[in-house]
C-alpha cells in the first residue's frame, strides 16, 4: 500500500523507515491484520465489535476512510499472491464483501 499509493505514507511520517520489509512496516502490518482477525470473530456484529477501533481511527488517528478501500485492495492482492489456487473468484467476492463491511464499521464513529 505504501509503495503503490504513496499518499498513504502521510500517516506514517513519524516512522524512520517506510520501505517494504522495514521493521516499523512489518510490525504495523501484523497489528493491522490482527485487527482484521478480530473483526472475523465479530462478523455477526461488526459495528459493535469494531466500535473502539472506529473511535480510534476517527478521533485519534483521523484516517480518511477512503484509505480503507485502498488497503483492502492491497490485502486482496497479497492474498491472491500468496494463495493463488485458493483465492478463487468466489473466495475473492466473499472476502472483498467482508472487507467492505469492516471498512464501513470502522467508519461508523466518524460522523
Amino acid at each position: 500500500m505504501l509503495t503503490v499509493y504513496p499518499q498513504t505514507k502521510t500517516y506514517f511520517s513519524h516512522w524512520s523507515d517506510l520501505s517494504i520489509g522495514s521493521g516499523p512496516v512489518k510490525a504495523h502490518g501484523k497489528k493491522v491484520m490482527g485487527g482484521v482477525a478480530d473483526a472475523v470473530a465479530s462478523i455477526d456484529d461488526l459495528t459493535g465489535g469494531l466500535q473502539a477501533k472506529s473511535e480510534l481511527h476517527a478521533f485519534k488517528l483521523r484516517v480518511d476512510p477512503a484509505n480503507f478501500k485502498t488497503l483492502s485492495h492491497c490485502i486482496n492482492v497479497v492474498i491472491a499472491n500468496m494463495f493463488p489456487k485458493d483465492f478463487t473468484p468466489e473466495a475473492h467476492v466473499s472476502f472483498d464483501k467482508f472487507l467492505a463491511c469492516v471498512s464501513l464499521a470502522l467508519s461508523d464513529k466518524y460522523r
Binding site: T3, V77, V78, A80, N81, P84, V93
Partner: protein, 147 residues
Amino acid sequence: MVEWTDFERDTIQDIFSKIDYDTVGPAALARCLVVYPWCQRYFGNFGNLYNAAAIKSNPMVAKHGTTILHGLDRAVKNMDDIKNTYAELSVLHSEKLHVDPDNFKLLTDCLTIVVAGQMGKDFTGEVQAAFQKFLAVVVSSLGRQYH
C-alpha cells in the same frame, strides 16, 4: 505526458511478455463479473451469467476477456502516447457501449489480482506500483472522451 522510469517500462514489457493472454484475460473479466456483479449490466447478450460457475465457463466471457487483454497491447506498445492511442476506444465505450468509467477501475483491480496470483514472488510492491500506474493511465485515457 506521462513520465515512465526505466524500471516501469521494463516491468510493463516483462509482465505482458510473460502472461498467457488466453488465461489471464478470461480470468480477469470473469472475476470482475463475479466480484462486482453490477458489471453484468453490460453483458446482457452473453447468455448464462447466473452464478460464478456459469460465468467462469461462459465462452463469450472468455473470448471477450482475451479481446480486452489484447486491447491493452496497444498501450504496451505506445506507452508514450496512451491518451491518443485510446481516443477512439474511449468514444466507443462512451457513445456506443455506455459504460460507466468507474467500471474500468474495477476491471483493472481484478486484472492486478489475477496477475498477482500468476507471478508469485516476482510480483513485488514495486512491480505492483508500476503495473497499477500503467493501468491507471489506460483507465484515464479510456474515460477522456466522455462528455
